[in-house]
Amino acid sequence: MTESSLTETLLDVQNVTVEYPVKGFRAQPFRALKGVSLDIRPGETVGLVGESGSGKTTLGRAVLGLAPVTGGSILYKGRDIAHDSRRARRRLSSEIQVVFQDPYTSLNPSLTIEDILAEPLTVRRMSRRDANRRVRDLLDQVGMPSSSGDRLPREFSGGQRQRIAIARALALDPRLIVCDEPVSALDLSTQAHVLELFRDIQENTGVAYLFVSHDLAVVRHLSHRVAVMYHGEIVEWGDGEQVTAHPEHPYTQRLFLAAPVADPDAQEQRRADRERLLAAQQEQRVQSGAVA
């Protein structure tokens, strides 16, 4: 990686708005994202943390072209892809890929692992033989036995399925992978292994991640920079250590202190800190209310 590649931006999300139509006569559309901006550099992990309904998944889907962008732009390597046609979007598939949260529904239950992994390859007119060879490489890369190819998804555990989903994302050697809560459905120990896999792959291939998660600890572990979302907006955005350990925005502070730490005494301390913070923020609200 040269100096110049560090300053260059892979993905630049500028002031993006996503609105979903609401059923009903003259109903106001639902604004899932209200002018969100962030950027991702090559080889970087940007963590996107927030609670349910905060819009973090929607931002990931907007980058993937799966959510209706009604305002702003999403620049990929300098070109706006927010309003691409489906055909143009298909050409981006070798650049931007995805790993979804639920490893149970993200793999077609009636296709074998080999069919699932070869799908993106054969679409690009790779011969079946080359595709099969690539499938074996991919399985190897994610730590699955190469004999897994002719089995069905239901024969694998959640962690293994997630490895297969990661292999599918890697098939076309993308530059950016949107990871939508990829370890949330996994057990603690499996989660640790899958996170390590994500890191290894990044170090070996230089792929960038937009890593969406509700878990501050996971995001902190994996991300170079972190954005915190709340009600469809990014409320805090910056260096991972800074945002996750010394948050400045009141919401991030609440979020940070609400996550219980796995140590009885430290947690007792954190609980007390949280109570103090909530009381202080409450007081602030009352005061600002009095001023207004």
Partner: protein
């Protein structure tokens, strides 16, 4: 863990390979399916090879042979015009089947393509086609066919084509429903991101789902078309110049008293064909359902853990200063508990064994473990709420001096809710959507506490206020869908403590909630537990929650407790390898990754330094 899981799944796979067999193969081994297929094949083959099976022409009338009985020249006799009955039957099969096939083809083409387009793309085409199918379904089919034949003249082909259009909603609805269900699946999104075009997505991911149900529907439509066609021609609305089963019925009916057998042959043909089509559809549906009935998640987990239990002693920590402060009387003593599920072959798969634990009044006992560790099964067995087939196979559950493993269901009903209360994981699915929250709180209190409606209402409102619901009156009158998940969990907690229980069993009470809401719910549980001096069993996979609220912890793996003791001892001096591995996998304490380094090398060293916790997790230790 991953390696042993892989071998486990390989072993399972070989057992399952039987169910892998393709649907067509399985149809041939299904007795009903086989009979239906063979008979249908015979009907079709006899129609195709009609000229080889009879030397007569189906339309040549012979005055000599009018109503001839069965003879060597006419194996099934001759009809009222002296035409050979067998020849008419065989050639009639050609026209009847072709007519029905025309109806089937037209309805399938219109219905399947319409359903695919409307389901996949939606928008205006969706609304339009919904409206059109509604219209078609409202039309009385027979009346339309009668009207059409009076306007267009008697043509079997025309009426079958119209019937095909009338039947197309049958396919449309089916395909539409399947497509809308599949379209939102993540694997379709993943395929789109993989660069697949719409036509490929439809062909690969959507048609495969629709195929089998469409074939079933096709068999049914074909049967109906044959029956309708026969009915129309029996009424004399068919084209009398071509032999069909319907026109033979018409002819036989005219001479019913003189040659009753003439009515039998076409009726038998129509009957056999329609019955076989229906049987074929049924057999196919049975086979589809058999392959798709997966055991429920709960049962599957239970079954996958049937592996032999290795006997190893439980790591027990002594009480520390903090845990000695809990001096309440002993509420619950579980001794050597084993839980098993009856398997179809009569054996029992054991999912929990040798579990012993005690809960004192005022104490929170955490059951912690990964999915499939038996922690929830243990909680359910204390409540005696194990799913079908599950039972306590060994040990005792002594609650306030009574062994719950042995009491009658009626006595258990008295204890459950009143003395032992339960907080589930999924708040929403544990509230009945068709009753207001208030009525769901008031009813149990009236039953268990014998309160009047007014008293119960007052108590419910007070409880709602206590659990931190801002506007108790409004929530009391609301339906479950009108409140958020966090509020719903508060309502369930209010319900759980409404009858002043001694023991509270909370099964992952905060797993479905956001962290900020989780912190509030934990605060609430802690407050209520102290206030009412309850004993509590908290099932969770989250060590942060354990650290927050538990006094004592039991770590479970593979249906056994591997380590138990005061919460600080478990976190500070874990002795069992598994506990150490689990604690090592926690990310809380690890440093942040830091900004993107300028070179790959320094990034790698960062990474190695930043993951001491995860590095500790040896794969063997976790299984």
């Amino acid at each position: 863990m991953i390696d042993s899981q892989a071998t486990e799944s390989l072993a399972e796979a070989s057992q399952r390979s039987a169910s892998h067999a393709s649907l067509s193969k399985r149809m041939l081994t299904n007795p009903t399916g086989l009979v239906a297929i063979v008979l249908l094949a015979l009907v079709v083959l006899s129609a195709v090879f009609a000229p080889l099976l009879t030397s007569h022409d189906p339309n040549t009338a012979s005055l000599h042979d009018v109503l001839d009985p069965i003879s060597g020249a006419h194996p099934l006799g001759a009809d009222s015009s002296g035409r050979d009955e067998l020849a008419r039957l065989l050639f009639g099969s050609r026209f009847s089947l072709a007519g029905a096939a025309l109806a089937l083809a037209i309805s399938a083409v219109i219905g399947v393509t319409g359903g695919l387009i409307a389901g996949y793309y939606g928008k205006w085409f969706d609304s339009l086609s919904q409206w059109l199918t509604g219209l078609l379904m409202a039309l009385p089919g027979i009346v339309v066919l009668l009207a059409a034949s009076s306007v267009l003249g008697p043509s079997m082909w025309m009426s079958m084509a119209i019937f095909g259009v009338i039947m197309s909603p049958a396919f449309f609805r089916l395909v539409y429903a399947s497509v809308t269900a599949v379209r939102s699946e993540l694997y379709v999104d993943a395929a789109r991101v993989s660069g697949l075009g719409d036509s490929r997505i439809i062909a690969r991911h959507i048609l495969t789902v629709v195929r089998a149900p469409a074939i079933i529907q096709g068999a049914m439509v074909m049967g109906i078309a044959i029956a309708i066609q026969a009915g129309l021609e029996f009424l004399g609305l068919g084209d009398m110049t071509i032999p069909t089963w319907g026109s033979m019925l018409n002819d036989g009916f005219v001479s019913m008293y003189r040659a009753p057998l003439l009515l039998l042959w076409p009726s038998a043909m129509i009957g056999i064909t329609c019955v076989c089509l229906t049987l074929f559809a049924n057999a196919m549906r049975d086979e589809l359902e058999r392959s798709s009935t997966k055991p429920s998640r709960r049962r599957r987990r239970a079954a996958s853990r049937a592996a032999a239990f290795e006997h190893e002693p439980v790591e027990r920590h002594d009480d520390d200063e903090r845990s000695r402060e809990i001096t309440g009387e002993e509420l619950l003593r579980v001794t050597d508990l084993a839980v098993g599920y009856d398997k179809p072959d009569g054996s029992v798969s054991t999912v929990v064994s040798d579990v012993s634990l005690t809960v004192q009044r005022g104490e929170v006992h955490g059951l912690v473990g990964e999915s499939g560790s038996g922690k929830t099964q243990t909680a359910w067995s204390i409540l005696r709420l194990l799913p079908d087939g599950g039972r306590v196979t060994n040990g005792s559950i002594v609650f306030e001096g009574e062994d719950l493993a042995g009491v009658s269901e009626k006595a258990m009903q008295r204890i459950r809710g009143k003395k032992i209360a339960y907080i589930p994981q999924e708040p929403m699915s544990n509230l009945d959507a068709s009753f207001t929250i208030g009525s769901q709180l008031v009813e149990p209190m009236r039953v268990s506490l014998g309160l009047s409606k007014k008293e119960a209402t007052e108590r419910a409102l007070a409880l709602l206020a206590r659990v931190g619901i801002p506007e108790p009156k409004r929530t009391f009158a609301a339906y479950p869908h009108e409140v958020s998940g966090g509020m719903a969990q508060r309502v369930l907690i209010a319900g759980a403590v409404s009858c002043d229980p001694d023991l509270l069993i909370a099964d992952e009470p905060t797993t479905a909630l956001d962290v900020t809401v989780q912190a509030e719910v934990l605060d609430l549980l802690r407050g209520l537990q102290a206030e009412m001096n309850m004993g509590m069993i908290l099932v969770t996979h989250n060590f942060g929650v354990v650290a927050d609220i538990c006094d004592r912890v039991s770590v479970m793996r593979n249906g056994r407790i591997v380590e138990t003791g005061p919460v600080r001892a478990i976190f500070r001096q874990p002795r069992h390898e598994y506990t150490k591995a689990l604690l090592g996998a926690i990310l809380d304490e690890g440093p942040a990754r830091g900004p993107l380094a300028s070179g790959v090398t320094s990034q790698t060293t960062d990474a190695a330094a930043a993951s001491p916790a995860a590095g500790n997790v040896s794969e063997g230790a976790l299984k």
